[in-house]
């Protein structure tokens, strides 16, 4: 799969995002097409790593929704491409500088949900400086990486499939003691196991499209990552989880990582480096963090000495004795705040994957919001009673 022009971008004015991509050094990746040029776009789309559609392809429709004729939004174009190429299509991203006018008010930190509801893999705000380009390129790179690994994924025995995903796609380190535990964790999150689509050529009118059988699995793995694995504490966790498991503050952890401490060195093998690494911030392998936490002594004096040595030259800031949890906000999105478990209750909603643990929300937040209070698990409702 070529990387030049591997991102097909449909917009009535593609120049803006293409220019931004050039400024970020990725200009050659974006192949921009206008709505007048969809046949050429479709031909390019059949071998693309990513499709990107601007929602408003007609400026007038942004101002006033049209009822005179079927609207011509980027989603409409997406559905036409989807009908053309079927399952042999890459992930799609919907972009706009006017997202709320396009798709209504939504929580941007949970855009993976609205993306799924719209039938695409991601949604990005064109007005957010270089963020959309970074995200688009990261998604396209992920697809290219998975396509490269496709043969080994397609041919491996079913019993070795999670291990193959772990090593080929997620780049799980092999020479670590916790490798098998991490593979079990990945398996418990049910990585997509679709087979390839048939390799075939399709003729539509005068358009000859070459369907790539590797794209379906690539798309499904990317969707799995952005919808399930990354937004929730899965086999990959965020820095606040690392801090609570070790019993240190987040500030102490960050300082230790910045100052090249022994902890930074030990955590290096646990730092996630597979597809979409850094996409929604750094992640660490949960099994790797558990292995580190296992070595922290239980005795208070020994623990202090051990942690002090780990974080040096950063100053040790231990968490006071108690059970600490990572706090989620009212939209059940994890924050960087950590709190004592006694101050929190567990909550989830219909969008949580079944294998995801519930979010911890502050009791005071749940008491202040009826909507949030209803998301609190039944067995924790008594925690909201004054």
């Amino acid at each position: 799969m070529k990387s030049k022009g591997d991102i097909v971008y449909i917009d009535d004015e593609p120049e803006g995002l293409v220019a931004l991509a050039k400024a970020e050094g990725s200009g050659q990746r974006l192949a921009g097409f206008t709505p007048d040029d969809l046949k050429r776009a479709a031909k390019a789309a059949s071998s693309a790593s990513l499709w990107v559609f601007d929602y408003f392809t007609v400026e007038q429709e942004r101002v006033v929704p049209t009822l005179d004729a079927p609207g011509s939004s980027g989603l409409g174009v997406f559905h036409q491409f989807r009908r053309l190429l079927g399952e042999a299509r890459p992930p799609s991203v919907l972009v706009s500088s006017h997202l709320e006018e396009a798709i209504g008010v939504f929580d941007y930190t949970r855009r993976h949900i609205v993306a799924e509801q719209l039938g695409v893999e991601w949604v990005s705000n064109k007005a957010k400086a270089d963020e959309p380009i970074r995200e688009i390129v990261a998604l396209a790179d992920a697809v290219a990486s998975i396509v490269k690994a496709h043969k080994s994924l397609a041919e491996v025995d079913s019993a070795r499939y999670p291990e193959a995903v772990a090593s080929r796609v997620l780049r799980l380190p092999t020479a670590v003691a916790w490798n098998a535990v991490a593979v079990q964790d990945i398996d418990s999150w049910r990585p997509p196991a679709t087979t390839s689509t048939p390799a075939e050529n399709k003729t539509v009118g005068d358009l000859l499209l070459k369907l790539d059988p590797k794209l379906k699995l690539s798309r499904e793995l990317v969707a799995w990552m952005v919808r399930q694995v990354l937004p929730y504490p899965s086999f990959l966790v965020r820095a606040p989880h690392v801090a609570t498991r070790l019993g240190i503050t987040l500030a102490c952890l960050r300082s230790a990582l910045a100052k090249k401490s022994k902890l930074a060195e030990l955590l290096q093998s646990s730092l996630y480096g597979g597809v979409l690494a850094g996409f929604l911030g750094d992640r660490w392998w949960s099994a790797g963090v558990d292995a580190l936490a296992f070595d922290v002594p239980r005795d208070a004096v020994q623990r202090k000495a051990h942690l002090k040595e780990l974080v040096a030259p950063a100053a040790l800031r231990e968490l006071p004795i108690g059970e600490w949890v990572v706090v989620s906000d009212d939209e059940l999105v994890e924050t960087d705040e950590i709190a004592l478990v006694g101050d929190c209750v567990r909550a989830s909603d219909e969008h949580f994957p079944s294998q995801a643990p519930p979010a911890w929300v502050k009791i005071e937040s749940a008491k202040a919001s009826k909507v949030l209070a209803r998301k609190v698990r039944l067995e924790d409702q008594n925690g909201l009673v004054t």
Binding site: V181, R298, V325, D380
Partner: protein, 245 residues
């Protein structure tokens, strides 16, 4: 005598038990419950020649007033559970070690508290080499008996999940049964049930063999002095812990 145990298989059983028991664990102990599964897996992965799996803080279970209290209205009571399990590598390991260790020592401590501050402490022990009493036994905490370590009462339960099962039955008899009988819990129940059955049958068969071999003791005194000769505890899959040998 220490018995071999396939800790990877037991870790599956622990995960299933925790999934069943989660609803009975106090919210404040939910992270601790998750951690015991994570710690066991981390310990197995490390593959050290000897190591300890334990609760850094005791796990608090939900209170109940539905326990057996004949003639009286039961006051609210709850229990907390903490444990220390030590494992050592068997002496002869020919190949790359698997997940097999010998049980060197286990002790599960239970504290039952009632809302009127009545308190009762006991522990489930795996007898150390040379110690008197049954191989698997319960005893009231010596702090509550003025230092008296007896009687030690024979028990089928000794692993932390078995002990938690016993206590849940005592304090939440109806709810715990309902939880187990729920249709969507059958997978977890099956794993725990099989693990408990295979381990317990191994010990019962061992006791039976010792009964037949020693005709100069009463049955109950032999139980009371029982030292296990079970070499290997079968897992929930009924496989004996032999991996890596």
């Amino acid at each position: 005598m220490s018995a071999l145990i396939d800790l990877e298989a037991y870790a599956e059983e622990v995960a299933s038990f925790c999934a069943l028991a989660e609803a009975f664990v106090a919210r404040e102990s939910a992270p601790a419950l998750k951690r015991i599964v994570d710690d066991l897996r981390a310990g197995i992965a490390k593959g050290l020649p000897s190591w300890t799996w334990s609760t850094p803080t005791a796990i608090h279970f939900q209170p109940s007033n539905r326990y057996d209290s004949p003639g009286k209205k039961a006051r609210s009571a709850h229990f907390t559970l903490g444990f220390v399990c030590s494992f050592t590598r068997p002496e002869r390991v020919n190949k790359k070690p698997g997940a097999v260790w010998a049980v060197a020592h286990t002790a599960t401590h239970i504290k039952v508290e009632r809302d009127d501050n009545a308190l009762h402490c006991l522990h489930f022990d795996y007898k150390n080499a040379g110690q008197l009493g049954p191989q698997l036994h319960i005893q009231v905490s010596e702090a509550d008996t003025g230092g008296l370590p007896i009687p030690r009462l024979a028990s089928a339960a000794f692993l932390p999940t078995d002990c938690a099962d016993v206590m849940l039955c005592e304090l939440h008899p109806e709810a715990w049964e309902k939880r187990q009988r729920a249709g969507n819990n059958q997978w977890h129940v099956g794993i725990v049930r099989n693990g408990q059955e295979h381990r317990t049958v191994a010990y019962l068969n061992d006791i039976g063999a010792q009964w037949r071999a020693d005709i100069r003791r009463t049955r109950f005194s032999l139980i009371q002095a029982y030292t296990s000769t079970v070499p290997s505890l079968p897992s929930h899959k009924k496989e004996l812990a032999q991996k890596g040998w």
